[in-house]
């Protein structure tokens, strides 16, 4: 009698127990909520410099998401390039183009109402599209893939070594074109922004 009662209570507890989220889900939520909030602040902040700081926060959180997806090289590159260089460029440009009445008028222009409605619709459509497909739920561990001639290394090193190898074999032309593009962009930016006297 008591054993049956115990079994009944156990079954009831198993059926109504809340599902505990895994640690990756907790870390994802801890990175995604600041990213989303900071992205919203980029749009809605009255002061332009607050928008720039919120953009830096978003970029840091997105770098954390890359690290969660086991793309550590990309996370570090994101921090070096985006937070280190592009955010500094944006800050310099904000300092060099002062003159707007920050905080006096609304940061949004005349078509902001229509834009907000259309963005809400777009987000609903995208989320509905994402929810309607059977995406994979679980990752396949990186160690199960074969990293070619770098299979004898630990997985993080093997990824970076394969990255270097791919840059110089399969993706050589985009790599060199990227170098030319950066040179042209640098020269063009200096030419456009120099002081003409």
């Amino acid at each position: 009698m008591i054993e049956q009662l115990n079994q009944l209570i156990e079954q009831l507890l198993i059926q109504t127990a809340p599902t505990v989220p895994s640690i990756q889900q907790v870390v994802f939520v801890m990175l995604a909520i600041p990213a989303a909030v900071a992205a919203l602040m980029v749009v809605l902040a009255r002061n332009l410099f607050h928008s720039a700081l919120a953009l830096v926060g978003t970029l840091f959180a997105v770098a954390g998401i890359y690290a969660l997806l086991e793309a550590e090289f990309l996370a570090v590159s994101q921090i070096l390039v985006y937070v280190g260089a592009i955010s500094t460029l944006i800050t310099f440009a904000i300092m060099l183009t002062r003159g707007m009445m920050y905080g006096a008028t609304s940061p949004l222009n005349r078509q902001a109402g229509t834009a907000i409605m259309i963005m809400g619709l777009l987000f609903a459509v995208l989320s509905g599209l994402v929810a309607s497909m059977p995406w994979p739920e679980n990752l396949v561990a990186l160690e199960t893939f074969s990293w070619g001639i770098f299979s004898n290394r630990i997985t993080g090193e093997a990824i970076i070594a394969s990255l270097g190898q791919k840059f110089l074999t399969t993706y050589l032309v985009p790599f060199e074109l990227m170098a030319v593009l950066l040179l042209v962009a640098l020269a063009g930016a200096i030419l456009l922004a120099r002081d003409r006297q």
């Binding site: 992205a39 720039a52 953009l55 222009n109 995406w135 456009l192």
Partner: protein, 103 residues
């Protein structure tokens, strides 16, 4: 384990925020910040699809995202140089007042 759809919804939200900033802000630099947000959202999608896909050892998603970061750096530099140049000649970066090409 984190389902793939969570990453895609986050990327969709950041993309919508970036597009809203590009369409609805007055200042030209805020529009550029919206463009950077959109590129970051696309990068999240690329890396998530790479990680949850079948051919992870091809590293194509990771390389694509790296190229997107480099191109975003080049485009931000040129865009900000343009904005500084416009500010020098017209003393404003308010997009409501830059209406020379408007019909």
């Amino acid at each position: 384990m984190v389902p793939l759809s969570w990453y895609l919804v986050l990327a969709a939200f950041i993309f919508c925020c970036g597009l809203l900033a590009a369409l609805a802000r007055r200042n030209a630099i805020a529009v550029l910040m919206g463009i950077e947000l959109m590129l970051n959202a696309v990068n999240i999608n690329l890396v998530a699809f790479w990680r949850y896909g079948a051919a992870v050892e091809q590293l194509d998603g990771l390389l694509f995202a790296l190229f997107v970061i480099a191109i975003a750096a080049a485009e931000a530099a040129v865009g900000l140089a343009l904005i500084i140049s416009v500010y020098r000649s017209r003393k404003t970066v308010n997009l409501d007042e830059l209406t020379l090409l408007q019909g």
